[in-house]
């Protein structure tokens, strides 16, 4: 079993890259791999609580919560959050907020890295 670090900076809605990343994380965890999940830039909105489910948008928050329960390490870039008006108290349970060096340290110990820097 290995460790995969996924980094994403795409918007919560639009490119669906976060949808891809969450599904990939789930598939890896299903197979017993360890997954670190890093969101920066616009992707930090995924760490916000009170996302209301709408049929026009996927509702990823709930799924990530489940995956955190199954061992996913999910962290959001602190300064990217703040710049978007997301305060510490807006963070969904189980998520961490760190500086970017956390992601780099995660890359250090990862067997594979997929960084999705589309936006």
């Amino acid at each position: 079993m290995g460790k995969l670090t996924i980094g994403v900076s795409s918007s919560l809605v639009g490119s669906m890259s976060l949808d891809f990343a969450v599904k990939l994380a789930e598939a890896a965890i299903d197979k017993g791999h360890e997954v670190d999940f890093w969101v920066s830039g616009n992707a930090t909105l995924l760490s916000k609580k009170t996302q209301r489910p709408f049929r026009d948008y996927s509702h990823l928050g709930k799924k990530v919560g489940e995956l955190i329960g199954r061992g996913l390490e999910a962290a959001a870039c602190e300064s990217c959050c703040e710049a978007r008006g997301l305060q510490k108290e807006d963070t969904m349970e189980g998520w961490k907020r760190y500086g970017m060096e956390w992601y780099l340290a995660s890359c250090f110990s990862a067997d594979r890295i997929l960084y999705i820097g589309d936006e």
């Binding site: 290995g2 995969l4 490119s15 669906m16 890259s17 891809f20 599904k23 990939l24 789930e26 598939a27 890896a28 299903d30 197979k31 791999h33 067997d111 594979r112 890295i113 997929l114 960084y115 999705i116 820097g117 589309d118």
Partner: protein, 98 residues
């Protein structure tokens, strides 16, 4: 090296794609990249399929767009998320999302 390249766009500047070399190369079409595996513009397959590589397309993204397996170019293997995890851990050491 053993490199897996993710193509997620239909239209993009392909200069990195064209130039990167790898002893072992896999190209995985996801999101709007799936059009390279399905659409024959002016009756021709996508120029991306001319690269010497193993080609894969994500079935979930194929079906999201309304395509079926029978629409996929013969050069391209259809995989799902679970297969993708195996590819990532067993076949390729480095990954690039273009």
């Amino acid at each position: 090296m053993k490199l897996g390249i993710f193509v997620s766009h239909f239209r993009f500047n392909t200069s990195s794609y064209e130039r990167i070399k790898s002893d072992k190369l896999g190209v995985i079409f996801v999101q709007n990249g799936i059009f390279h595996a399905t659409v024959k513009e002016n009756n021709r397959s996508s120029p991306l399929l001319e690269k010497s590589a193993d080609f894969f397309v994500l079935s979930e993204d194929l079906e999201t767009h309304g395509f079926r397996r029978s629409d996929v170019d013969g050069k391209v293997r259809v995989i799902n998320y679970s297969d993708l995890v195996n590819l990532i851990f067993n076949e390729y050491e480095k990954l690039a999302w273009l």
